[in-house]
């Protein structure tokens, strides 16, 4: 066992982790530990853009952004935090630009922007260009830029170190236990502040846009240490994943004018009850649900479980004319193949590689894909982890990015708001963590700090049963996709919960081939699966209890939102054989709940 001491330890090197590390390292000794090389983080997969009301192309205001986000969250987002994020957005985007981020440019050399689902001009209700982008690789550029700046600022990295446990004492947090993947050695990082930024857990579901590494480690680790997880029932399904593979086709495609088409060749989003106003650019839960309903009514392409996303210039121009869409300067909106090529190069590359089709001439087969966890480790707007309904702070522990829940996304996240969340709250948690470190001492490490982590690993290493972890994983993914997906019912979810609990029992009887210590990915994959199972259980229990439909949580048996009973955040604690729930109030400032129509 090796031991290190840093004032601030950041777990995870995606957009959130790197931003936090950059700011923390300005005043405190800081280490970043990451199970992937930082540039492999899933932030790099984000395509469409980062939301900020710069107003570079047309009128826009942070207040509008705030309202859209509140509405998008189905009023479950905490409005003080949302206001804070949207106000900070323009300056933080400028800051990224000053760090060298190569945004796409407008004619007059400013950062270019495109429309995105749920972002509107509050006066007219029409889509507004708010997503600042760099072609369709905005996340890639953010990740690269932040990593480059980290190198410039000499941040200390522990690459390919997998965090397994956080050390929580009665006085607060004392550090992190991690495994050096290359050697199998356990390292204890003694720290004053620990920031979790380990990303999401989309791998719980069968069809997902998420990376193999998205196994919810941060949430699972803290759950096992008695820290609750908030709003886990809200998991976003992105409308347009490549059929069967789940690879994401950015909402930017619809922003550029792409339309969704059903098996009868109709543009169904304009139907009454879906989103007659903004159509394809409604928020994600709305579009995913509409697609699901179409497919359920047998209107999938050839009756199968997919639909077409069409961005060929003919279709785009046809419907832009019908909609009367104009460019910001007032001229009618028309696109050419070249324009689509230059704005969506990676999407075109994906389609050519995986589908053998060219989106400039052919429609893309798409289906909803598990995409983003709105819930996570509960925090305040400085990323400080809070552990009960009264928002009691756990000193020294922070969570940001997808694994944190501020909550700015409430029941449904708007596109482009996650990248914004990463950098805004990444920055502030980094500052806060360093400030806390400056004002407090190291909490002594307990007797045997790595015991719990080692115990988990030993159990896995010595496992000698007959279950394949792949089988358990696949069964979990399937049942979760079928029953805790876009649409949910009491019956389906109960079934899923039974299955998850059965799988958890079967997990105790797994068989692992690799007993070594060097790059033992077998054990780590099994450990990650145990995280997914815990998260699946917490998600399902939280969802079963919430008897209403709100945002991404849509129930056939309770189709209406119920503000009287359910305008509150779920807090879930993982117990030995059960999940304990409690609820906490939503923060309101300006906006009263209204019915949500697009």
């Amino acid at each position: 066992m090796k031991q290190h001491q840093f004032e601030v330890v950041v777990v995870g090197a995606g957009g959130a982790g790197l931003m936090a590390a950059l700011y923390a390292s300005k005043t405190a000794s800081t280490a970043v530990i990451s199970k992937l090389y930082p540039t492999r983080s899933h932030t790099g997969a984000a395509q469409g853009g980062i939301g900020a009301a710069l107003g570079n192309l047309e009128e826009d205001h942070p207040e509008w952004h705030t309202y859209d986000t509140v509405k998008g969250s189905d009023y479950l987002g905490d409005q003080d935090a949302i206001e804070f994020m949207c106000e900070e957005a323009p300056s933080i985007v400028y800051e990224l630009e000053h760090m060298g981020l190569p945004f796409s440019r407008t004619e007059d050399g400013k950062i270019n922007q495109r429309p995105f689902g749920g972002h509107t001009n509050n006066d007219t209700g029409r889509p507004v260009t708010r997503a600042c982008y760099a072609a369709d690789r905005t996340g890639h550029m953010i990740l690269q830029t932040l990593y480059q700046q980290s190198i410039k600022n000499k941040v200390t990295f522990y690459d390919e170190f997998q965090a397994l446990d956080v050390i929580v004492t009665d006085d607060g947090v004392a550090g992190v236990v991690a495994l050096e993947i290359a050697t199998g050695e356990i390292h204890v990082f003694h720290a004053k502040s620990v920031i979790f930024a380990t990303g999401g857990w989309g791998r719980v579901w069968e069809i997902t846009s998420n990376a193999y590494a998205y196994t919810g480690d941060g949430v699972a680790i803290t759950l096992r240490r008695g820290i609750p997880a908030q709003d886990m029932e809200f998991f976003q399904f992105h409308p347009t994943g490549i059929y069967k593979m789940g690879i994401l086709i950015t909402e930017g495609v619809r922003g550029e004018g792409g339309v969704l088409i059903n098996g009868k060749g109709e543009r169904f989003m304009e139907k009454e009850g879906y989103a007659p106003n903004v159509k394809e650019l409604a928020s994600r839960d709305v579009v995913s649900r509409a697609m699901y309903l179409e497919m359920k009514a047998g209107l999938g392409i050839e009756g199968k479980r997919y639909l077409y996303l069409d961005v060929t210039p003919e279709m785009v121009n046809k419907y832009a004319t019908l909609d009367g869409r104009t460019r910001p300067d007032g001229t009618p909106y028309r696109v050419t193949s070249e324009e689509i090529l230059s704005k969506l190069p990676d999407i075109i590359d994906f389609c050519e590689t995986y589908l053998g089709i060219n989106p400039v001439t052919q429609p893309m087969p798409v289906q909803p894909t598990a995409h983003y966890g709105m819930g996570g480790i509960p925090t305040d707007k400085f990323g400080q982890v809070v552990v009960d309904k009264k928002n009691k702070i756990l000193p020294g522990l922070y969570a940001v990015g997808e694994n944190g829940c501020v909550s700015v996304h409430g029941a449904n996240r708007l596109g482009t708001n996650s990248l914004l969340d990463l950098v805004v709250f990444g920055k502030h948690s980094g500052l806060k963590a360093a400030e806390y470190a400056r004002n407090s001492g190291y909490i002594p490490l307990p007797e045997n700090p790595a015991a719990f982590a080692e115990e988990q690993l030993e159990a896995l290493r010595n496992s000698d049963g007959d279950e394949h972890i792949s089988d358990i994983g696949n069964e979990m993914k399937e049942v979760m996709f079928d029953h805790v997906g876009v649409f949910r019912t009491e019956e389906g979810m109960s079934k899923a919960l039974g299955k998850i609990r059965e799988l958890k029992v079967r997990f105790k009887n797994i068989k692992l081939d690799d007993k070594g210590s060097v790059f033992n990915m077998d054990i780590l994959n099994a450990w990650e699966l145990s995280n997914l199972l815990d998260i699946a259980e917490v998600t399902t229990v939280s969802a079963l209890k919430r008897k209403e439909s709100r945002g991404a949580h849509a129930r056939d048996d309770y189709p209406e939102r119920n503000d009287k009973k359910w305008m509150k955040h779920t807090l879930a604690w993982l117990k030995e054989d059960d999940v304990k729930l409690d609820y906490k109030d939503v923060v309101f400032t300006k906006f009263k709940p209204k019915k949500r129509v697009y």
Binding site: L36, Y37, T39, R40, S41, H42, G44, A45, V93, Y94, E97, H98, M99, G100, P102, F103, S104, R105, T106, E107, D108, G109, K110, I111, A134, A135, R137, H140, M141, Q144, T145, Q148, Q149, I151, K152, A182, A211, Y212, A213, M245, I247, D346, D349, F350, T353, Y354, H468, I469, S470, L512, D513, D514, G516, S517, V518, F519, N520, M521, D522
Partner: protein
């Protein structure tokens, strides 16, 4: 469904003195990714098989390896693209093999870090964005796409011969800043690359350009850097 033979390079430092190959026969879809086949082997045949992967759609750079003798991303190569039933997967060349397909990427990142791969402009930041024309932005667009997968550097015979060569990936990342009109440190980077182990190690072999999964015109980028050193002109 299609019958294929998958031959995998195997080396476990804890038990093996020398590497060997394992062969698996399996039925797969022509549209399966090579990565899917490897996941299948790992899941059901031999859990000790080790390789890196994350995003599974060619954007994170984890899974570059030698497939049928050529560097590719396992997650961006479909069985049907290979046009054969025999698939051989081996680790990239020129880096130390740690286990199976996993190579030691440290030297690669050290070279990357050596070329000042970060934005430098010490003038006070303006209140809003620094302006840049669409053409100036386009100038270095190609090299911003790099995902640091290492496929290029490990396909370069010049790098195989001598690991002190900074390698195409590092030059690509220097290029991204040298030709960014907002950046101010081009001279320093050119100075670094104007070295025995800098751009002049490049013998215009083109393996890098062919290998790059992001279709970056790497040799062109290197050529532009060479030319910039020779002429002092950055346009």
């Amino acid at each position: 469904m299609k019958k294929i033979t998958l031959k995998l390079f195997r080396y476990n430092p804890e038990t093996d003195k020398k590497p060997h190959y394992d062969t698996f026969k399996m039925e797969v879809e022509p549209t399966d990714r090579v990565l899917d086949l490897m996941e299948k082997v790992k899941g059901y045949e031999d859990g000790t098989l080790s390789f890196r992967r994350s995003c599974a759609h060619g954007v994170c750079g984890s899974c570059s390896m030698r497939i049928n003798g050529e560097n590719m991303l396992a997650c961006k190569t479909l069985v049907q693209d290979l046009g054969t039933n025999k698939i051989t997967v081996e680790p990239m060349l020129g880096l130390t093999v740690l286990k199976d397909m996993i190579v030691d990427m440290k030297p690669f990142f050290i070279h990357y870090e050596s070329v000042m791969p970060f934005f430098v402009n010490d003038e006070p930041d303006p209140a809003q964005e620094r302006l840049q024309s669409i053409e100036d932005r386009e100038r270095f667009d190609d090299t911003t796409k790099c995902i640091m997968c290492g496929a290029c550097t490990t396909s370069c015979p010049s790098f195989w011969a001598n690991e002190e060569y900074v390698g195409p990936a590092a030059i690509v990342n220097a290029h991204r800043f040298i030709f960014d009109s907002r950046d101010k440190a081009a001279a320093e980077r050119l100075q670094i690359l104007n070295d025995q182990f800098g751009v002049y190690r490049c013998r215009t072999i083109f393996n890098c350009t062919v290998a790059c999964p992001r279709d970056i015109q790497i040799t062109k980028a290197i050529g532009e850097v060479k030319k910039a050193i020779a002429t002092g002109n950055l346009d």
